[in-house]
């Protein structure tokens, strides 16, 4: 797991328009290892989604670079994008298509061969328990099923890095636990996961390492166990509150 997949070097992001300018990320440095679940933690507006959007190549960084295979991802963006599966915070399924059609088009965008795509769709619908909804339109699904399907769609082209942006927000506990099982299975399959969440129990249970972000800056990166040990706290939530309190005092 210690093989480096991505490196972020001095990343910063400024959102600006004619009237205002807001620094959402500043001087972000870290390494992402193959096969790990790396959670981005922070309060609302801390910069988690901004960072995951930059890593997903959805938005460009203002400064700094993201290195993949020791080259900037922008040197060969289409190749980098092939290894990524993005499950965004917003449910952006194609409402006019059935679930099956959503997956078919998604696979085609990545140039998947017809037979391989068919197998993959059958596998994903079965794995995410969506077979009976295959012919339903995305709009007909409940929130939990939509979220499952978003993850399934992100996996169609067999990415090695999956970016999950707050995948369990607003879901009931049963569905959340179901999604946790899926994420645990990613680990077993060697898929690297970037998980953005503000549920600390979720991060503690699923992550190999957590990255706490506040006001656009990384406060700490470590395993949940090390963090608890270092700050002598019983759970990650207490560590998190302690760290943010410390930041506020600074």
């Amino acid at each position: 797991m210690n093989q480096i997949l991505l490196k972020a070097r001095n990343l910063s992001k400024v959102y600006s328009n004619k009237k205002t300018s807001k620094k959402a990320l500043s001087g972000v440095n870290f390494e992402l290892f193959h096969g790990e679940v790396f959670s981005l933690l922070g309060v609302n507006g801390a910069g988690k989604t901004t960072l995951s959007s930059l890593l997903a190549s959805l938005h460009p960084s203002t400064e700094g670079e993201i290195l993949w295979q020791n080259r900037s991802i922008y040197d060969d963006l289409p190749a980098y994008r092939k290894i990524i599966g993005l499950c965004p915070q917003y449910q952006n399924l194609d409402p006019l298509l059935t679930l099956e059609q959503n997956l078919v088009f998604q696979g085609r965008y990545y140039g998947m061969a017809k037979n391989r795509l068919k197998e993959r769709i059958e596998y994903l619908l079965s794995r995410f328990e969506l077979e009976e909804y295959a012919k339903c339109k995305a709009d007909e699904l409940s929130g939990g099923y939509k979220q499952r399907f978003l993850i399934a769609r992100a996996l169609v082209h067999e990415p090695t890095l999956v970016i999950l942006d707050e995948p369990t927000v607003g879901l009931d506990p049963q569905v959340r636990h179901k999604l946790w099982d899926y994420i645990r299975n990613f680990k077993k399959e060697g898929i690297t996961v970037i998980l953005t969440t503000h549920y600390l129990d979720e991060a503690e249970k699923l992550s190999n390492r957590v990255c706490v972000i506040d006001k656009g800056k990384i406060i700490t990166i470590d395993t949940p166990e090390n963090l608890k040990k270092e700050w002598k706290k019983g759970n990650l939530e207490e560590v998190f509150l302690h760290l943010l309190k410390g930041e506020d005092e600074v």
Partner: protein, 258 residues
């Protein structure tokens, strides 16, 4: 590069797939609309003193300007999707992000072309001997038809890059679409405008649609009374390029894509 082109073509295919699902209904709407215009101007108005050939002029005007209305409706939907971040999945596909918007525009151009081309034979049947095709140039017609529809595709993209607040987008119709349409040479030729006063004619040259209308009429009715065909084709291409560059720049800013 091959995989990027495949991705691009699949996006076009998706748009066309959605278009063909509602093809029948839209075809019916469009034919009713065209027949209404042509019958009123080709038959009823000629009894009130309008030239009997005016119906044919209106028919060609409908064919040449159809793309404007066809694509504008889609532009507002795209604008909404960009605003709601519904397009994020398309912006991380394995190709340059701007290609998504180009694919959408190309698909709009194709779908508007498919619908409007069918108006020509239907219009001929309705007008019959009132629609003289003796000077019809198939090559010129196809050229301006393809370029014209591409123009509408990218013009719609440009409009979608302008609309920020959909609840307050009536200005788009009142300030952009209506003047553009009324002064595009649908009801008259550029020469008629020039005859009123030269400056009126020159002012019309600022309207990109005048070139599509004049070019199409020149291809169908012959060159004599219209602006030179190849100037029209070239000007339409230049405007298409302008709207492409400007809309991508604006959308890049709004969606903040790579």
């Amino acid at each position: 590069m091959r995989s990027q082109i495949i991705c691009f073509l699949e996006l076009v295919r998706r748009e066309l797939y959605l278009f063909f699902r509602e093809f029948k209904g839209r075809m019916i709407d469009m034919v009713i609309n065209m027949v209404t215009w042509v019958v009123v101007f080709g038959y009823f108005m000629s009894d009130l003193g309008l030239q009997s050939s005016y119906g044919a002029l209106v028919l060609v005007g409908v064919i040449a300007s159809f793309g404007l209305f066809e694509t504008v409706f889609r532009a507002t939907a795209l604008s909404e999707d960009v605003f709601d971040k519904q397009v994020s999945n398309f912006l991380v596909l394995p190709m340059p992000s701007s290609w998504f918007f180009i694919a959408i525009s190309v698909a709009w151009a194709i779908s508007s072309g498919i619908l409007s081309i069918s108006l020509l034979p239907i219009g001929k049947v309705i007008l019959w001997n009132k629609f003289d095709l003796s000077k019809f140039s198939a090559f010129k017609f196809c050229t301006i038809f393809v370029i014209g529809n591409l123009f509408y595709g990218f013009f719609a993209l440009w409009l979608s890059s302008l609309v920020v607040n959909l609840r307050n987008s009536s200005w788009l119709w009142n300030r952009v679409i209506s003047p553009l349409y009324m002064f595009c040479g649908f009801f008259y030729s550029w020469q008629n405008a020039y005859d009123i006063a030269p400056w009126v004619g020159y002012l019309h040259l600022l309207n990109p649609m005048i070139y599509i209308l004049e070019g199409t009429k020149a291809a169908v009715f012959g060159q004599e009374e219209y602006l030179p065909f190849w100037i029209c084709a070239f000007a339409t291409l230049v405007f298409t390029l302008f709207f492409y560059v400007h809309s991508i720049r604006k959308l890049k800013k709004r969606a903040d894509f790579v």
